[in-house]
């Protein structure tokens, strides 16, 4: 039997020392050993990016890294990105409705923060390239692009605004809304359709 490796890490500003199995993935160390469940698991095959964290400032899919590889590293998860969700990228995701179920959001936010570190003034195409490794099933990505751009501007990017207004135009039509009362009686049951 080999010696069980020890890992020393700083995670969201807290120092941890733990014995871990060599095969333990970083994401399982975070979630199951430390209880840091703010970072979710979406696919197990490094396709979806939901588990993205920062390791020494660079975004990493934490399902594709062993805990032992993080030895000596400073790790930031979504939980430690900023106090009270105050990072401009976090605020922009909430403000721009860039999330629905929100399961991809921690990884998407961490990837976007790293993207803006590398390129503080990205075009729409550059935002899309930068987030290619993160899947979202709810939003069609439209508001995610808008949120990243909004965050870039808040963080001081000089570029012209894109997607200035909410994406959709609501057009008037028809007569003002009529309202129905609740139906008091139950229809005959037994059907199955919808």
């Amino acid at each position: 039997m080999g010696r069980v490796p020890r890992v020393h890490t700083t995670i969201d500003g807290v120092v941890y020392q733990d014995e871990v199995e060599p095969r333990l993935l970083l994401i399982h160390y975070l979630r199951d050993r430390l209880g840091k469940v703010g970072t979710p698991i979406g696919c197990d095959t490094s396709n979806c990016g939901a588990c993205t964290v920062h390791v020494d400032g660079l975004s990493v899919k934490s399902c594709s890294m062993l805990a032992v590889q993080a030895d000596g590293c400073a790790i930031t998860t979504i939980e430690g990105l900023a106090p009270d969700g105050g990072h401009p990228v976090q605020r922009a995701f909430a403000d721009c409705h860039a999330l629905q179920c929100g399961y991809c959001t921690p990884g998407m936010v961490m990837a976007a923060v790293d993207l803006l570190r590398e390129n503080p003034d990205p075009s729409e195409a550059e935002i899309r390239e930068g987030l290619e490794g993160n899947l979202c099933r709810c939003t069609g990505y439209v508001n995610i692009v808008r949120a990243v751009r909004a965050a870039a501007e808040e963080m001081g990017a000089p570029g012209a605004r894109i997607h200035p207004a909410p994406e959709a135009a609501v057009l008037p039509g028809g007569v003002p809304g009529a309202e129905s009362a609740a139906h008091a009686s139950a229809p005959a049951g037994g059907g199955t359709g919808r």
């Binding site: 894109i162 207004a165 909410p166 994406e167 059907g191």
Partner: protein, 808 residues
């Protein structure tokens, strides 16, 4: 880089004037009609939102599921000896350990909680394990010896539908209903629709003779996966009263409860469900997955049991969209007026019925699409096979039919030499039309206007091709191996119609409890329902309704659970309508109760007939304050519970399909612009534009999000998403092999939202989640056909289809 794909001009017509503070309407901030922020938005960007997979209990065990590797096999024996011996294993259960009913199901109790001596699909649960660690549970499963006698699977849905000699997946056929014909044992539901000459018994040749042009087509829709990002998971906690508390990500708490309680041998009140954070649903959480298994293990061990599926297991752990094979024939006069349509739709339900009957109901009643056709003959079948079970997915039978009828419209337009939009407008349904099932459309249906708007949108910039082209702008991106020499552009249109809410006489209702009281001296509202927030933004809508109805900004939506009556499912685009309607009704009752309190204290002369609740006060219509809520309520809480039902619907006639089966119809129109590399068979969607009528936009920002997301799922079905099933076995159960659109696959979108109120619906709203999923698929495939001239009868389109190679 082109301007059009990077920037977005405002939609052509000007937006309506907005109030000074767009967040405020009717005297309260963030009410109905505003872009109110999600109450869970901050929690979701900070990682604090608790998904079902994040739950933890002291002393909890981990559950795991042993699944069949075979699509069809008899189980000769199961030997658990080695598994139970493993230290750390607390329980290993099989079907013999199910204390109550052995079968469950949404429409038919045909699915065993654990395999009952036979497995009918690959991945069927055979045994479950509870252990102190997920790895222990996995090792225990490897020690369970199951002796399978492998059987030939029924894998061909058409054979299941039509071949009387096909072996039954579930035993012999039920006797025919009175007046109905005998049908093969594997047919779960057959639903015909007959109108015009077909109803009068005319033959097809007679009807054909009236048409100048006839087009026929055979189309297939592949098996699509909902691919929510948060796999199935939950935590079952045994309770002191012998019952169980289940925390789970689901779409309909009460239908889970009603299926679980009999299996667990418990009365419903001892099976309490609480909604945990849901990582997307799209229909896949309508059926049970780990619910019964976790409860069984918790009750057996007396310990909390957590179960979390991996992604691969998730592909086997939930139903998919029914794959369809469809045969369509349309006839029209030379001017484009439709004369007749026939369609045969076969939907593969897989091993268990799930919602197949209802999917057949939608597919048959929506088979013709939003077109006026005088003579219709529809034959829709949902069948059992040994393929993966299929059930609900966003669009629910209407998606499959839409690909068929829209493909036919394009084919017909080509045969007639008409523009595809012109043909659609010529035959468009509108308010006052009748559907093929004889139902009058008694609400606005501005289809012609929507099509004209989609067509009038400015086109994106011309494609860049040739030397020096940025490969990232080409189909295939940097992985492409051409320089775009063979890139051609195409434009296509699609339109779809979806019924909203549950149909066919289903008793569809939602329950809401609303409480108004002072908290810290300020009026505050609590809304309690069992309605599942799955990401769509229902929590926001509930708050908005309460704010508008009660004039109080501070509204808290309590966690959903079974301590309050059912809200029905978060499906069929129904929750804004149904739970929005229930919250509104409960608020109205609370408001009346507050007015009674005010009257008891005495009103100023003439105020009684015109009271309103605004800005935390009872006021007269002119705004004079009668009483502040802070004063009026004092230590009293006003609480009301109301059940809301939509207007009744009728069953479809089993022989003719006739009947007012639906509550509401909703439509979306898409225009897709694609670049296709004809050498590589690769497609880049350059732009996707949508025009949707929503009756009334309760929250325009969230609504646009629904249209974006639904369109993206339709894009996936058009270009890449198919669960590959060969001999009833799944070949691609991972996100490496089952592809969903990335941010590079999904183009920028233009969205126009129209508001023509439905007089029957709360606030005039129209369900909105599903329609965009219908029409984006045919629009994109039409655009590829326009670019390439290929017939393209299969969704998703595969590279082989474009370059003309045989598909393996």
């Amino acid at each position: 880089m082109t301007a059009s794909s990077e920037t977005r001009a405002p939609a052509a017509p000007a937006a309506p004037p907005v109030p000074a503070d767009p967040a405020e309407r009717g005297g309260v901030r963030h009410g109905v009609g505003t872009d109110a922020p999600r109450p869970d938005g901050v929690l979701k960007v900070t990682g604090e939102f608790a998904y079902s997979s994040d739950l933890w209990a002291d002393d909890m065990l981990w559950g795991a599921t042993l699944r069949s590797p075979h699509p069809h096999a008899r189980i000769r024996g199961i030997d658990l000896t080695e598994a139970v011996r493993l230290p750390g294993v607390y329980a290993v259960l099989t079907h013999e350990d199910v204390p109550g009913a052995k079968y469950y199901g949404l429409e038919r109790a045909d699915q065993p909680v654990l395999a009952d001596g036979k497995v009918r699909y690959q991945g069927e649960p055979v045994a479950i394990v509870a252990a102190d660690h997920p790895e222990t549970a996995r090792r225990a499963m490897m020690r369970i010896a199951v002796d399978y006698e492998v059987l030939e699977p029924v894998s061909d849905a058409r054979r299941a539908a039509f071949d009387p000699a096909c072996p039954p997946v579930h035993g012999p056929a039920a006797p025919p209903e009175p007046g109905g014909a005998a049908r093969p044992a594997n047919v779960v539901r057959y639903q015909p629709v007959r109108t015009g000459a077909f109803a009068a018994g005319a033959g097809l040749d007679e009807v054909r003779a009236q048409a100048d042009v006839i087009v026929t087509g055979e189309y297939q829709v592949g098996m699509q996966d909902q691919a929510f990002l948060g796999p199935e998971s939950g935590l079952a906690v045994p309770a002191a009263d012998g019952g169980v508390d289940l925390y789970v990500a689901t779409q309909w708490l009460h239908v889970d409860q009603s299926q679980l309680a009999p299996c667990l041998g418990l009365p419903p009140e001892k099976v309490r469900l609480n909604l945990a954070g849901v990582g997307g649903a799209f229909g896949a959480r309508e059926d049970l997955s780990m619910q019964a298994h976790a409860c069984l293990l918790a009750l057996r061990t007396g310990r909390p049991v957590k179960m979390v599926y991996h992604r691969e297991e998730s592909f086997f752990g939930h139903v998919h969209r029914h794959p369809a094979t469809m045969r369509y024939e349309h006839g029209a006069r030379a001017d484009g007026t439709l004369v007749f349509a026939t369609m045969e739709i076969v939907l593969d339900g897989g091993a268990y019925a799930s919602t197949t009957s209802a999917v057949v109901g939608v597919a048959s009643s929506m088979a013709v699409g939003p077109y006026e056709v005088p003579n219709v003959r529809v034959d829709a079948y949902g069948v059992y096979t040994n393929n993966p079970p299929c059930g609900a997915m966003r669009g629910f039978g209407a998606v499959q039919a839409c690909f068929g009828y829209e493909s036919q419209m394009d084919r017909l337009a080509e045969a007639l030499g008409m523009h595809p939009v012109e043909l659609r407008i010529r035959n468009a349904m509108s308010e006052g039309s009748r559907t093929a099932t004889g139902q009058p459309v008694d609400m606005p249906l501005p289809m012609a206007d929507m099509l004209a708007r989609a067509r009038a949108l400015p086109p994106p910039a011309e494609p860049e091709t040739g030397p020096g082209t940025d490969p990232r702008r080409l189909p295939g991106g940097v992985a492409g191996t051409t320089r775009g020499e063979g890139v051609v552009r195409g434009v296509g249109y699609g339109v779809g119609i979806k019924n909203i809410c549950y149909s066919e006489s289903f008793d569809d209702y939602s329950t809401a409890r609303v409480r108004l009281e002072l908290v810290g001296g300020e009026p505050a509202v609590q809304v309690h329902t069992a309605a599942a927030e799955v990401g769509q933004g229902l929590v926001t809508v509930q708050q908005q309704v309460a704010r508008t109805e009660l004039g109080v900004e501070r509204v808290v939506v309590r966690p959903a659970d079974t301590a309050v009556g059912s809200s029905g499912s978060s499906s069929a685009s129904r929750q804004s309508y149904m739970t929005g309607g229930a919250v509104k009704a409960a608020c109205e009752a609370v408001r009346e109760a507050v007015f009674r309190l005010a009257r008891e204290r005495g009103l100023p002369p003439g105020a009684d007939d015109a009271l309103e609740l605004r800005g935390g006060a009872v006021v007269t219509r002119l705004g004079a304050v009668v009483a502040e809520l802070a004063e009026l309520l004092a230590d009293t809480a006003v609480e009301e519970t109301r059940v809301f039902r939509h207007r009744p619907t009728r069953p479809m006639d089993p022989l003719t399909g006739q009947g007012d089966a639906h509550v509401q119809f909703a439509m979306c129109v898409h225009r897709a612009v694609v670049d296709v590399d004809t050498e590589l068979g690769l497609v880049r969607v350059v732009e996707l534009a949508a025009v949707q009528d929503v009756g009334r936009a309760l929250n325009p920002l969230q609504l646009a999000g629904q249209i974006h997301g639904g369109s993206a799922q339709g894009l996936g079905l058009a270009l890449m998403e198919e669960v590959q099933v060969r001999d009833a076995a799944v070949r691609n159960p991972s996100f490496t092999d089952y592809l969903i659109p990335t941010i590079l696959d999904m183009p920028p979108m233009r969205v126009e939202i129209l508001e023509h109120p439905d007089p029957h619906a709360p606030y005039g709203l129209r369900g909105a989640g599903e329609p965009p999923t219908l029409s984006s698929t045919p629009a994109i495939i039409a655009a590829i056909r326009a670019a390439t001239g290929r017939p393209l009868a299969h969704a998703p389109v595969r590279p082989e289809d474009i370059v003309g190679l045989p598909v393996p």
